[in-house]
């Protein structure tokens, strides 16, 4: 597994969401400029794994969210925090829509 998420970006459309697996994992959502605006995970409480988690993202972020990429990952909690730490190391802060819901004690990489 690469440290940074490297899968292909896909348009955040209903058709692409419907094609997602129902498994657990992590994802990044970006705006039209390619900026990551939210990092999230499909955890054990999600009804249909990545499929329902990304559907929630599309609904919650609205038109600002235009694309996404994901990883199927059973270790979604540690991978989620790792992605947040990497983003903070690369850009100096968390993605825009993660800032209001910061983990209590997020670590740092570098």
């Amino acid at each position: 597994m690469q440290l940074r998420m490297s899968g292909p970006w896909r348009d955040l459309t209903a058709a692409n969401i419907a094609a997602l697996p129902g498994q657990l994992g992590v994802f990044q959502v970006a705006d039209a400029g390619g900026n990551v605006i939210h990092i999230g995970f499909a955890g054990g409480r999600s009804l249909f794994g990545l499929r329902s988690a990304l559907a929630d993202e599309a609904r919650n972020l609205g038109a600002q969210a235009t694309s996404f990429r994901y990883e199927v990952n059973m270790q979604y909690q540690s991978r989620y925090k790792e992605l947040l730490m990497l983003h903070a190391a690369d850009y100096g802060d968390l993605p825009e829509h993660n800032r209001t819901d910061r983990p209590a004690r997020l670590g740092r990489l570098g």
Partner: protein, 388 residues
């Protein structure tokens, strides 16, 4: 020899049991199944409650403001505190407070002022960095991180792996070789500040445990003032060894707690679930699993309490702690596995805590010294020789 709990111990155990069942377990219904943190308002509320109960900072020595509860009673409490989904690695989500790194109680007054007291006030967090990519079971030989004296500083170079909490810590206790010719007599313990140039958290190490992950560290010309040597130069191995021995008792207790809860679930399910016209509990195959679970739990419990009792009396307890660690981690794994078998398909799901315990308790046979090293420690003590 009295194997019964005292009246005071019974009251304390009952109090903790109710706290876990009434305050902790209900919150888990809304948390992610792999979560290791409470929402901050819940955490603050429960910390206040624990303080009110007089149990906050359980492991802090009384002379530093701890509640002065003996090791056996603390072990009994630890068995109760782990009886929930996150309990193995996050007993009660930490609302009983931590004691910080035990080695700091032996530090100089200056070091206590800079690291111990801020830790006890909750202002600083520390990590313990011993294991290296070259090995963890034999630190005396595996440590390749070097520390070279340069003026008033030591300069550290090397790496550490499987280190918990280093990415969120303000400082850490770590070990480096200061005399390459002297084996275990050439290792020194240092306190390092994580904001120092040359201290790097290179990556998260993903394991079976989705939460409470470990990290890999790199020391790249990390300068540490001589005032941050903990204990004496070339005497660090004893500090590492003492910590590993002491840690085996609470480590064992958490495995027992999870096993107790898994067994409780298995019994409830066996009494309720019907197959082929009768309850699972009526089947001999299930009955034997329940009995084997109970034997595993009781064996682990008595060995762990025996180790705690010796530690409490300030008697040597290395063999007892190794035996408790070996038996409780292996037995705990068997109990969780049998309980999953009794639950059938539901036992595999994230609807129940069994699958999380199954993953996490597997790590316990490796962490804090694998089963094979525990046997080595016991053999060394029993045979009276020093193995090289």
């Amino acid at each position: 020899m009295d194997l019964e709990l005292s009246e005071e111990q019974r009251i304390i155990v009952d109090t903790i049991r109710r706290f876990v069942r009434e305050e902790i377990a209900p919150l888990e219904a809304d948390l992610d199944p792999d979560a290791s943190e409470l929402h901050s308002d819940d955490r603050d509320r429960l910390v206040a409650k624990v303080r009110e109960m007089g149990f906050y900072g359980l492991d802090i020595p009384a002379r530093y403001g701890g509640p002065d509860i003996d090791i056996v009673t603390r072990t009994l409490m630890a068995i109760e505190m782990s009886q929930h989904r996150a309990g193995l690695y996050a007993p009660c989500y930490g609302v009983f407070g931590g004691a910080g790194l035990a080695q700091l109680y032996e530090a100089s007054e200056d070091q206590k002022q800079r690291y111990l007291y801020p830790t006890l006030r909750g202002e600083k967090h520390g990590f313990f960095g011993l294991t290296e990519p070259s090995g963890g079971s034999d630190p005396a030989r595996a440590i390749q991180t070097t520390a070279v004296k340069d003026g008033d500083d030591w300069v550290l170079n090397g790496s550490k792996i499987f280190i918990s909490g280093a990415d969120t810590a303000d400082f850490g206790i770590t070990f480096a070789r200061t005399d390459s010719a002297r084996g275990r007599e050439g290792i020194t313990c240092f306190i390092v500040d994580t904001d120092s140039p040359g201290f790097h958290v290179r990556r998260v190490v993903h394991t079976l445990r989705s939460t409470s992950y470990a990290t890999e560290l790199q020391y790249d010309n990390l300068r540490v003032p001589a005032a941050n040597v903990l204990g004496e130069v070339n005497r660090g191995f004893a500090i590492a060894n003492d910590r590993l021995t002491r840690q085996r008792i609470p480590y064992s207790a958490a495995c027992i707690g999870v096993a107790v809860k898994a067994q409780e679930m298995a019994i409830a399910y066996a009494n309720q679930r019907e197959t082929f016209g009768d309850r699972l509990a009526s089947r001999q195959a299930i009955q034997w699993m329940i009995v084997d679970n109970e034997i595993d739990i009781r064996t682990s419990r008595w060995l762990t309490l025996a180790a705690a009792d010796k530690a409490n009396r300030d008697q040597p307890f290395r063999t007892e702690a190794a035996m408790a660690k070996l038996v409780s981690t292996e037995a705990g794994g068997r109990v969780v596995d049998r309980s999953m078998q009794i639950h059938g398909g539901y036992g595999m799901t994230k609807d129940l805590p069994l699958e999380r315990w199954y993953r996490e308790i597997r790590i316990r046979r490796i962490g804090e010294g694998p089963s094979e090293v525990q046997r080595l420690i016991m053999a060394r003590d029993l045979l009276g020789g020093s193995f090289h």
